[in-house]
């Protein structure tokens, strides 16, 4: 069988499995780079317990890309004899309600777009195995995503969008969980059962690999008519669910609607209400025109008015605008601090009623103020105050 994995795109490499034990390396700068590439290839093959050699055509791939391409090639060539590599990963679970202003998508099969995805300061990076990955590349993409997860410190959260479970989502989870993502995005979520099935799968894989059970979050993406109608159940289906995301492209297609602000209003509001009723966050759909920053800013402002906590991004260029829109403003933070101060005064005075500027402050307002302050502090800690 002639196995060939990878591409000749910048940042990638092409790996072929060859007879004999030799490792052949072809790279633009042989004198400087060949030895390092050979080392990665040799070590990967040996940790897979495989014999045989490989030919590597390098287009400027980082070590984790080369390792992923080698692993995919060896496992394709010897499907029955090789087990997945289990990288060592040092990553802690995140807070349920940490800031998630942005979720930055990157296609899981393309190193050119994946390499460096962690540097842009996204609150969450979303490595995609679903729509952006063609069927023939699903297997190598999930291996690549696993290696990326293991190699890189994301600063924020690292998520993986798997395929629907009935497609190949289970295999996605089994592979990528070895890279210890913070959470899994479930596309086309339509029912509480969908979410629970994923949660059970996560529990099983977590326990198999000694990961604390329940620490991998779930973000269902609601992007069908049925999903919107069942948003309330989806949001409340499982304690792993920390946010609901909205996917407008699939949704308008499902409805046969045009994508306008009006046509999406009901769905957006329903999704926000479902999320907030369950005490979780709501994340808006992506804005497709990366050149139109003003349009993006407008849509962010609209989403924030409706109660969304963040928005998807398809290009790092969109992050500053999204972050600006979904960060608490100085005035909001100031007001929140005064609310909390008033509450503390009331408590010290032994009074049950809180008043600020002559107005009563309700309990939910106080809770909201505390959340906002904590949120603001987390952003400051990250060096990312708006």
């Amino acid at each position: 069988m002639n196995v060939r994995i990878g591409s000749e795109e910048k940042g990638d490499c092409v790996v072929e499995i060859v007879r004999g034990g030799a490792i052949e390396v072809e790279t633009k700068n042989t004198d400087l780079l060949e030895e390092g590439i050979r080392t990665v290839a040799r070590e990967t093959i040996s940790s897979l317990g495989a014999k045989g050699g490989a030919r590597v055509l390098d287009i400027g791939a980082l070590d984790y890309v080369i390792a992923a391409r080698i692993e995919a090639a060896v496992r394709t060539a010897h499907p029955d004899e090789t087990r997945p590599l289990v990288p060592s990963v040092d990553r802690c679970a995140t807070d349920r309600d940490r800031p998630r202003r942005s979720r930055l998508y990157a296609p899981g099969n393309r190193p050119r777009l994946l390499v460096g995805i962690e540097i842009h300061g996204a609150d969450s990076v979303l490595l995609d195995l679903e729509d952006s990955v063609p069927p023939a590349e699903k297997a190598s993409a999930r291996i690549l995503v696993k290696h990326l997860l293991a190699a890189v410190d994301f600063g924020g959260e690292a998520w993986v969008r798997i395929n629907p479970l009935e497609v190949c989502g289970a295999r996605d989870v089994e592979e990528v969980l070895l890279g210890r993502p913070h959470g899994i995005c479930l596309p086309k979520a339509e029912s509480a059962e969908d979410v629970r099935a994923l949660s059970e799968l996560l529990s099983r894989v977590e326990s198999e690999h000694g990961i604390d059970e329940g620490t991998t979050w779930i973000m269902p993406i609601v992007e069908t008519a049925k999903g919107i109608l069942h948003a309330e159940q989806i949001a409340a289906a499982d304690p792993r669910v920390v946010a609901l995301a909205f996917g407008a492209e699939d949704f308008t297609r499902d409805l046969g609607a045009l994508r306008t602000r009006d046509s999406l209003l009901c769905a957006r509001s329903a999704l926000v209400a479902a999320a907030k009723a369950a005490g979780i966050q709501a994340s808006d759909t992506v804005y497709a025109d990366i050149e139109d920053d003003a349009g993006l800013a407008e849509e962010c402002a609209h989403a924030r008015e409706l109660g969304f906590d963040g928005k998807g991004a398809i290009n790092p260029r969109q992050l500053p605008t999204i972050h600006r829109a979904f960060s608490p403003t100085a005035a909001e933070l100031d007001h929140a601090r005064r609310v909390v101060a008033a509450a503390e005064e009331a408590e010290a005075a032994g009074s049950g009623a809180i008043a600020l500027d002559g107005k009563m402050v309700d309990r939910p307002v106080l809770e909201r103020a505390r959340l906002l302050i904590r949120y603001g502090e987390q952003l400051v800690e990250r060096g990312d105050a708006a």
Binding site: L32, L33, A61, H120, V152, R317
Partner: protein, 514 residues
């Protein structure tokens, strides 16, 4: 011997005695300038000659002499190759070529080195000629690289003497006045040649657009010009962009541009009267654009922007965000048009721009500059000349002049290019010393020279990702196996002059790999 940066340099390079680099502002001169022979032109003298060959004959150019050129047509230049062909036809040998810069288009020069017409090169080498020189052993003496200001200084000081200056001029008159911003194929200022025109023993203007007296602006003046040759073609202005003038689309480079802009805005210099120099690289262009937006938002009007002129810079002038552009070269045709039409877009020459031995440089009036690099090191030293494989592939340009001049010099560089880390323990070649570098901006964070704690504090207060070079270096080195390094032999292929004429480093021939 070792210079102030601990770089090992010889006491002599070729026939020249070396003065080692002692610090960015360590030397000063008080002696007289060099001078060309006097000549009194009678009123009726006819300066027109029928061909380049005739000009070579008229100038008395002979073996071993020095000829000079400007690079204002960049990749579109048609004059250097033609003049050298004519020199070869005339049987001339061992010429020294002193261009302001060479580009890929000048690859035929290699053949003239092989056949003996040319034996020495002093000037910036971009691309194939540099690669050829890197292979070593072909030139009679090591190449000498100087900054724009350094070249001017060396000519004025008499460190290098020009026998004949050949000056491509998009428009000229029969009495010897010439400009680069008018004519059939304007290329932008040709002011890089004004020092050649004034100090060469003989000055020849080569034009494809001869117009009645007087042609203006008189970048090249009648009092300096011996002869004028009219030819059909001198260059292709469409190629002055050298293919570099694209606003970057790379997310990594845009990230660097954004961080650079945010750092400028957080600095004390971002205020009314702010001045800066950008460049033609994708990151610099993006920073220029982003900075314009920030200036508009903050209601700040800058005093001046410094070229190479680009559409991005011209846009700022036309939006009223800067009061003037000082420009020694045009990187695109928008800049050429603006130089012609807008009196606030000024032509400056490298002497005004950056002559170390002068009574004032324009670069010293810069608040901020953002410059590229091929490598940087933990001491903030910058290499723009060689690649990590030791090959000499780029000239200095104005890098040293601007870095030394600006109040805040920022280097924009990706921490990783493909598999290659760009922050090293020691750069392969030092072009510009760390003492004049204030900030290094990578996609993975902003490093501030320890000398500039004031800047570091402001950046931190602004929430910018400030990190040490060591941290960024360690982070990218976790992503790649170590890269091998060149082992250099004894043979020196090029000397890198600091802008004051001292030797900051030499480039040696690569002999192996470690």
């Amino acid at each position: 011997m070792r210079n102030a940066l601990e770089r090992e340099i010889p006491e002599q390079i070729g026939t020249r005695d070396v003065t080692p680099f002692a610090g960015a502002f360590a030397t000063s001169r008080t002696g007289p300038k060099a001078a060309r022979p006097q000549k009194s032109a009678p009123r009726s003298e006819d300066k027109l000659l029928p061909s380049i060959d005739a000009a070579i004959e008229a100038t008395g150019l002979s073996n071993g002499m020095t000829i000079s050129f400007h690079h204002s047509f960049r990749e579109g230049d048609r004059v250097i190759n033609r003049v050298l062909d004519a020199c070869a036809r005339a049987g001339l040998r061992d010429l020294r070529v002193l261009p302001t810069a060479l580009f890929q288009v000048h690859e035929p020069l290699i053949e003239h080195v092989r056949n003996g017409t040319v034996s020495r090169i002093e000037g910036s080498m971009n691309g194939p000629v540099g690669a050829f020189v890197s292979a070593g052993g072909r030139l009679a003496e090591p190449a000498v690289l100087r900054s724009h200001g350094g070249r001017w200084r060396a000519i004025e000081a008499g460190d290098v003497e020009i026998d004949v200056a050949f000056i491509a001029a998009p428009q000229a008159d029969p009495y010897g006045n010439a400009t680069g911003i008018r004519g059939k194929t304007p290329c932008g200022p040709i002011s890089f040649s004004t020092v050649d025109a004034q100090y060469a023993r003989r000055t020849v203007v080569i034009t494809n657009d001869l117009q009645p007296y007087p042609v203006y602006p008189m970048e090249i003046q009648q009092g300096w010009t011996d002869w004028i040759v009219e030819v059909d073609e001198i260059g292709d202005p469409e190629s002055i962009a050298s293919g570099t003038l694209q606003l970057t689309r790379s997310p990594t480079n845009l990230r660097i541009a954004r961080l650079t802009t945010d750092a400028v805005v957080a600095s004390p210099y971002f205020a009314e009267g702010f001045s800066f120099q950008g460049g033609a690289g994708g990151i610099s262009l993006a920073v220029t654009k982003f900075l314009g937006d920030e200036m508009a938002r903050a209601g700040i009007v800058g005093s001046f922007g410094m070229g190479g002129g680009t559409k991005m810079l011209v846009d700022l002038l036309h939006r009223g965000l800067i009061r003037a552009i000082l420009d020694g070269q045009a990187f695109d045709l928008d800049a050429v048009a603006s130089l012609r039409d807008d009196p606030a877009h000024l032509i400056i020459d490298p002497g005004l721009y950056a002559n170390y031995d002068s009574r004032g440089c324009a670069t010293y009036k810069l608040d901020a500059a953002f410059l590229g690099a091929t490598e940087v090191d933990l001491d903030f030293n910058v290499n723009v000349n060689t690649h990590s494989d030791g090959r000499l592939l780029h000239g200095i340009g104005g890098h040293q002049d601007v870095a030394a001049g600006a109040a805040m010099t920022m280097i924009t560089i990706p921490a990783l290019r493909g598999r290659m880390p760009m922050i090293l323990d020691q750069v392969t070649t030092v072009t510009t010393p760390g003492e004049v570098i204030d900030v290094i901006v990578t996609e993975r964070g902003i490093a501030v020279n320890p000398r500039r704690d004031d800047l570091r504090e402001r950046f931190v207060a602004a929430g910018l990702p400030v990190r040490t070079l060591e941290e960024i270096k360690a982070e990218v080195e976790r992503l790649v196996q170590p890269v091998r390094k060149p082992v250099f032999g004894e043979e020196i292929i090029a000397a890198i002059e600091w802008r004051d004429g001292t030797i900051i480093d030499v480039v040696r021939k690569v002999e192996g790999w470690a």
